[in-house]
């Protein structure tokens, strides 16, 4: 299928696998050599195999639309995205550093609040944040860790430099797709795993279980459960998958109750059974109708009481979403210096804080070139992507920024890196990002690689699965031998 690759051209973007047209990177040479030497028919057969595989295993996600809720097959691109191990080792250190600082920050603001007292962060940024929960004041979970599971989004610009785009600390999803993608690639391209030294990813469920266990050092064999909002949640497949793989009991709010002794119990065929650790995949707002939203049908009344008394561990800890705030994000490099006394290994995307008048002036002047994000929305809700937006939309945001500058940040529109992707029978560059997953309890574990999401539409920067994004298997390839000049 050499012909399919003949016209492939990253066209000025940083390409994950190539320097430029027809110039593979050292660590991706064998991968590309293998792919180009395969004939077109064999290649499309592999694509069919991978699609059948995903469909038969029932790997789906739900799209909520006007036409009803549809379970769609997970869109998977069979050409892997590769990252050299030498670069990854540094990234891994950077992610660990970052999560350490973020956890110390959360622990600090729910206790002494020294970062505010020392004047590094304005009080309103922290205490008026949507993710801040006054209810959590005075708490300190095991090991001082609040964000036990984090899924940071990393992106590259056109120079290839890696940035942290956001830290997803509430209920990050996607890790099951990382595992499923690898399983599929292994079945579809078994030969490649002999040619290259690729880091395995399947330790995750075991690491997850170990991390959760470490949250209850006081219990010798803690009873651990995964709390899901239920079958109609778009990530339900993942909840079931993780419960199965990590040996957690998968349950819904209605399966739990809090006893008069303030312990949490689940309803079993034997009667009530005590629960020690809850991996919750429900937002703070819905977890306890007594403490937060009284209309929540998903949560468990009294569960926050049980948590505050240390009778149950909850991961991620309630209130940790405060560090997911986009304005607070801008302060992460400062946190790293403040708490760890280290220089950040991974950089933030350059960010203008609209609350600062000079920065706001700059943002307003360059609005059509920038991306503007509200403080506390996930996905791409309430965002402005200047270069892709209509004039009305830009002026709408001009108003919003003037009315409520504190709620916004702005960033340059990055020229996201691309990676070769199958599209309409051909191969074309498509924009990608990367979501590694970081587990923190007693120890810290980072997945080798993570989930690469790809915008399947030409020119699009939107990688979310709900909006036309797909995903790729991500390889951390040992590149030492290639560096030695093979």
């Amino acid at each position: 299928m050499k012909e399919m690759w003949r016209d492939y051209d990253p066209d000025g973007f940083f390409d994950e696998l190539m320097y430029e047209k027809h110039q593979p990177r050292g660590f991706s040479y064998r991968l590309l050599d293998y792919l180009t030497s395969m004939d077109e028919e064999a290649f499309s057969q592999r694509i069919n195999e991978s699609e059948m595989e995903m469909l038969e295993r029932g790997i789906t996600f739900t799209v909520y639309s006007d036409a009803g809720n549809i379970d769609r097959a997970w869109p998977f691109d069979i050409i892997p995205r590769a990252i050299p191990k030498s670069e990854w080792q540094r990234t891994e250190k950077g992610l660990q550093q970052r999560i350490r600082a973020l956890n110390q920050f959360i622990d600090d603001i729910y206790n002494e609040g020294s970062i505010v007292k020392d004047g590094l962060m304005p009080a309103d940024v922290v205490y008026d944040s949507k993710g801040y929960r006054a209810y959590c004041q005075g708490m300190s979970p095991s090991h001082g860790v609040w964000a036990n599971i984090c899924g940071s989004d990393l992106v590259r610009d056109d120079t290839g430099k890696l940035y942290v785009l956001e830290d997803n600390l509430r209920v990050p999803s996607g890790v099951s797709y990382m595992l499923e993608n690898r399983k599929t690639t292994k079945r579809v391209f078994p030969e490649l795993f002999r040619l290259l030294d690729i880091s395995p990813v399947d330790a995750y469920p075991e690491q997850l279980s170990r991390m959760l266990r470490s949250l209850r050092p006081d219990v010798s064999n803690p009873n651990m459960v995964l709390l899901t909002p239920g079958v109609y949640n778009s990530a339900y497949y993942e909840h079931a998958f993780l419960a199965q793989q990590a040996g957690l009991t998968l349950l819904e709010g209605a399966d739990l109750l809090v006893g008069r002794d303030n312990y949490v119990y689940m309803k079993t065929i034997h009667g009530l059974e005590r629960v020690d650790v809850i991996y919750r995949r429900i937002d703070d707002d819905f977890i306890d109708p007594e403490a937060f939203r009284p209309d929540s049908m998903l949560g468990v009344p009294g569960i926050m009481r049980a948590w505050r008394q240390g009778k149950v561990a909850i991961a991620n800890a309630p209130g940790c979403g405060v560090a997911d705030d986009k304005v607070i994000y801008a302060y992460v490099p400062a946190m790293i210096r403040y708490y760890l006394n280290e220089e950040p290994i991974l950089d933030n995307v350059p960010t203008w804080l609209c609350r600062e008048p000079e920065q706001l002036a700059h943002v307003l002047e360059h609005l059509p070139e920038l991306v503007v994000k509200p403080a506390n929305e996930s996905g791409c809700y309430g965002m402005l992507v200047g270069p892709h937006a209509s004039e009305e939309k830009v002026s709408e945001f001009r108003q919003l920024l003037k009315q409520n500058p504190n709620n916004y940040i702005a960033q340059p529109t990055l020229k996201l890196s691309v990676s070769p992707t199958c599209c309409d029978g051909g191969i074309a560059p498509r924009h990608v990002d990367l979501r590694p997953f970081i587990l923190s309890g007693e120890d810290c574990y980072v997945t080798p690689g993570g989930l690469t999401r790809v915008a399947l539409v030409e020119g699009s920067l939107v990688v979310n699965s709900s909006q036309g994004g797909g995903s790729k298997d991500t390889w951390i390839v040992d590149d030492r031998s290639f560096m030695e000049g093979q």
Partner: protein
Amino acid sequence: MLSRVGERIFWLARYLERVENTSRLINVHTSLLMDLPQHRDINWYTLVTIFDAKNDYFDRYDRVNEYDIMHFLLADTSYGGSLVNALFSLRENARTSLDILPETLWEQVNELHLMVKGEMSSIGNRRRRQNLLLAITERCLGIWGIIANHMSRNYAYDFLLVGKYIERADMTSRILEMTSILVADKDSEISKQYEGILWGTLLRALSAQQMYIQHNASTLKADKVLTFLITDTTFPRSLSFAVKALGNYLHYLPRSETVLSLQQDVLNKLQDYKAEDASLAMTHVQMDELQVSLSAINQAIAKNWFYPDYATA
């Protein structure tokens, strides 16, 4: 095990058994109709009677013909008892129990769903319908094979088997009920001319023909067939076997005394069955009573394990 999970698993097994039995029954009935002349007592509508779905049927259709009845029983999503709906419930229950079931089981259930989805439009064609129903039966058996060979003997397994045997007893009794009504009328044309064919069909609908012959080495006679299908404890699709097996698995579950005593009553009644001429005509009444008792056992199971009053700590 969570009460909710126990409930889902129990129903998963019931639906799996129902899908299998329905497919086999419809195929066997089709072949029966090919053997019989056009007759007003036995026709496609007989199937609707077996499923107790008279009202549901006439709410939706005006006429009685093969096409409409097949559509109703197999493909009609508005009728709760249709095969597609049973399959849908089966898949939903499997999908929501992924954490405790073998991975391969979910894959097989999902493949079954995809296969039926792709082929459902062709059920108007008799040949393709028969192939589809045959394939469904085989796949269901394959799924039971996974359960038998990939699952620990734990509570999940016990609830699966409890669900399976309660559903099997129910389906078997429905099929028996129908045949006994047809042959009970000693004077009717049908019973004189075709009794042998009818009993043979009944046995095939329960995959029981071969074992019956091995067991009885005799011709197809009403009293022998009924005795075999009601009282035999060695053939897995006979009523006594199913109810006895139900008891074995109930026994493994915690606090099962109340449910077990109901099950024991039912088993005793079945074992007391005597296929004498006088009582032959009453068989369908007894089958009706059996269905009521099975439904009472189902309720007792729900009360005991799925929705008990939890004593709060």
